[in-house]
Symmetry: C2
Subunit: 148 residues, 2 copies
DNA sequence: TTATCTGCAAAGAATTTGCGGGAGG
DNA sequence: CCTCCCGCAAATTCTTTGCAGATAA
């Protein structure tokens, strides 16, 4: 699994007048290797395994930078922290289904959903530029009484 | 426009061992009269117009109480604060479309979307219990270059 | 009366920022 | 060299909480 992010960041840095520093390289690699949706604290811990001198302030600054550069996506799963994941190719737009019984997060993509989002925005005179969608569910079986 | 929330809260209070206090009455009225999605600070300002002695801590505590009692909904529009709105009748489940050019928030409801959400959760073996969806868009015309 | 509430101010948690030294181009 | 960056710690912002007095039931 080659580090796509790192080269994208290298490009980003040269494009704008930014420097390709060691912390940015490490953070890019860590994020690229992460299969989950780490928050800043988790990222910092992983980054420290590669270089313990990197501070959490730099992780915050770098994530903001990456986010503005559109190479990572910030997620909000309802707990107070921001979570990050590398942005995939353009047509990606997957979403998250959170099993509240286990905390497990499943990514999904749905064509119909994509169409509907765009349609709804257009019906209101807007062009969709971003969206947040998270679904929260409980296992079908573990769910005896249809309470609520 | 009768204050439905206030009577719902009165019922809630007597059901559990809670007291129907002046701050709770005022906060309920303010929330019920709000047509927008105020954050705690805005709520506090409005509450103070009725009773300046009510503190913001009480607004926080009361919103948490109302949320747990399932009579208000907490919203997250991406800025750091929590926003609240009175929960409507059960089949309501509307969502929000935010015009990022103006900050305007439009509520919408879409049957197709409702069906799809449930279907997606079920496809993954889950029963949908909650969900977050916000769409962000810019005006179709004010949007000269198809950048991105 | 008495358990719940409330205001106040301090504590927490997540994130941002000013500053002076450090390093990439 | 000369900016841009970084680590550090202090500052911000939003929210929660401990405490002692106030209040509904």
């Amino acid at each position: 699994m080659p580090n796509v992010l790192e080269s994208r960041i290298a490009r980003l840095c040269s494009t704008m007048g930014l420097k390709m520093t060691e912390p940015r390289r490490v953070i890019a690699r860590v994020l690229s290797e992460s299969e989950d949706h780490p928050d800043v604290e988790q990222l910092h811990l992983r980054v420290r395994e590669h270089d313990p001198s990197i501070s959490i302030a730099t992780v915050y600054r770098t994530m903001k930078l990456f986010e503005e550069a559109n190479i990572v996506t910030k997620r909000d799963f309802g707990d107070g922290r921001a979570r990050y994941e590398e942005k995939q190719g353009d047509g990606d737009h997957h979403h998250h289904l959170i099993n509240v019984a286990t905390g497990e997060v499943v990514e999904f993509f749905d064509d119909e959903l994509e169409r509907i989002k765009v349609r709804i925005a257009r019906q209101h005179g807007l062009r969709l530029v971003d969206h947040h969608l998270e679904l929260f569910g409980v296992p079908l079986d573990e769910d005896s009484g249809p309470e609520k």
